[in-house]
Point group: none
Chain length 193, copies 4
């Protein structure tokens, strides 16, 4: 079952939901197409399961990262670091998470979007806290949260683990980028690690 999920992610990434053939997926796992139906009831189910799972892990990861932090600046720094770390480590999942929403059943679509919105609200909350605490003064927290997430997520469209920049360099560059855009001096970002 876990094998099916993993193979499903790979195929969804490479081919997309419509182009992915259950026969090929079964082949990847080493079973016959018919046998897949002992694990899923429909092709659609597989997509939803995979996407739900991705969202869930994303939430858990972020929660763990921010646990106990109260300073907005530090929260922002950690959000950026976590987002890039998680996204670059899971290029495939992120890609599917953005591309395959369209193939979801309306009901399933709503559920996944709700999760994604929840995640976006975490950054927005941080921005608003920072505004309140005087850490920065961002004019439009909603737009800024969208722009920031887009900028950070964009990384994984071109990130190459064996490329010019290491993951931590990438994180530094984006912390600088975002902090600047928030009107913060980069030195403010120097945290405990």
């Amino acid at each position: 079952m876990e094998a099916i999920r993993r193979a499903g992610i790979k195929r969804l990434y490479k081919q997309g939901f419509e182009a992915m053939k259950l026969r090929d997926l079964a082949d990847d796992v080493g079973i016959q197409a018919g046998s897949l139906y002992n694990y899923i009831r429909q092709k659609q189910d597989l997509l939803f399961m995979i996407l739900s799972d991705i969202m869930e892990r994303l939430h858990e990861g972020l929660s763990a990262e921010l646990e106990g932090i109260e300073d907005p600046v530090e929260e922002l720094r950690r959000f950026i670091a976590f987002h890039i770390r998680w996204h670059t480590a899971r290029k495939e999942e992120v890609f599917i998470g953005n591309m395959e929403l369209r193939s979801l059943t309306p009901a399933n679509y709503r559920k996944i979007i709700a999760e994604r919105t929840k995640y976006e609200h975490r950054l927005r909350s941080i921005i608003e806290e920072g505004n309140k605490a005087g850490a920065w003064s961002v004019r439009d927290p909603q737009v800024t949260s969208y722009a920031t997430i887009a900028a950070l997520t964009g990384v994984c469209t071109w990130y190459n683990p064996r490329g010019r920049l290491s993951q931590s360099e990438l994180i530094d560059l984006h912390i600088e980028y975002v902090f600047h855009s928030f009107g913060l001096d980069i030195s403010d970002a120097s945290g405990p690690d």
Copy 2:
């Protein structure tokens, strides 16, 4: 033919390449499925034509926008404004321009990606000019250009023409966002218009 292109864009946006049925497309245009083949030789051709066309218009639009401008700050400002204006006005095209690349034949894929890269290089060149001219000092022009384009392009995933913010407000917010991230004061951006 133009009708086919327009209907194709709509269907690609709503359903994606694989899910789009040529019969439905023909229906949209008011002809029989077989008649489509007087205009295209394959389904794949339609996708490629549409994507090529989008890229071409994007290039032309940007060239017109930047024509005669020499000041990097002004160029950057115009790039941002143009990008948001163009992308929010063409949500559908932008969406398929990102999503349907995967459905391209390898040969066609390479051609489209080459065009996209050319576009990205325009911003990178602006950044590098600005570095040279002392307008700003951006540490990593490549990464910064990617992050910026991602942030700006992200707009059209949530932009709603009848939403809270007008297009020009959106542009202002993003100019501010990007200028800050470049370490520029927003007032520097005040151009002739």
Copy 3:
């Protein structure tokens, strides 16, 4: 029109009736597919016209060859020579004449077969005359006429004008073959030419 017939023969030979596309045929002639319908009413018509024409010319050719001859031996010799000469010179027509009968409409099929049978009867008549005249003694004129025509027609499945044997050598060999099979000495065949 004559160009269409000639191109039709070529295409029928190479591809067969079902596989032959009217578009390609039109291309060969240098017109559009639609324009063909100024000359034929249906694809089937073309086939019938071509086959009728072939049969007609075959009959005419044989009649001219046998005109005025009364000696069965000489008639046989001339029949063989004519058949091989005509068939090797018209490989394509002969081939279609055998292969494409199946694609004819039942009504058309009957007409063509009637012509072919008439042709076969010419040889049978010669054989029977020879029996009567004591030129040879063939046990079963019908079977022998079939076997003989098959043997002769077979030539054009492998005949190559630039091959080892010239047309007249081929004719000599087959005259010998058939005369022997009729129990005739080959020297009997030496005619005026």
Copy 4:
């Protein structure tokens, strides 16, 4: 699978490769068209399989017939008998074996033709052995083998099991025909059976 082969032969005989519809074929077998693809990968495969199979059985049949025979006269007699017996018993296979070659893929075509040539060479070898052994003196073994095979194969274009002549009468007539054409007296052919 065997049912598909048999139905395929029938349909190829009646309609030809291009005109044969897989849907009809499936109907003959009592399955859906799609189910055919559990047995073949392409329509072309079916044709090739059938033709290969025919050639293989033909070779096997002949080998069995000639096994242990060393006398060229007897070999010739048996070749004729076998060829007519096999061909009249398999009118349909013989027909498509000649007609549908054209519908083969070039690669497949070469393979089948190679088999056919091998078969023709068997007769040619017999003729050459007979020449060497002084059993007969045939001027051009190649041409004679072609003419002979054509004459014999022609039988099945008109042979009717309920017709005037029995199979064995037919064989006798053709043995006489061919033996004469080889310059042999028919009495030489009287073998053990």
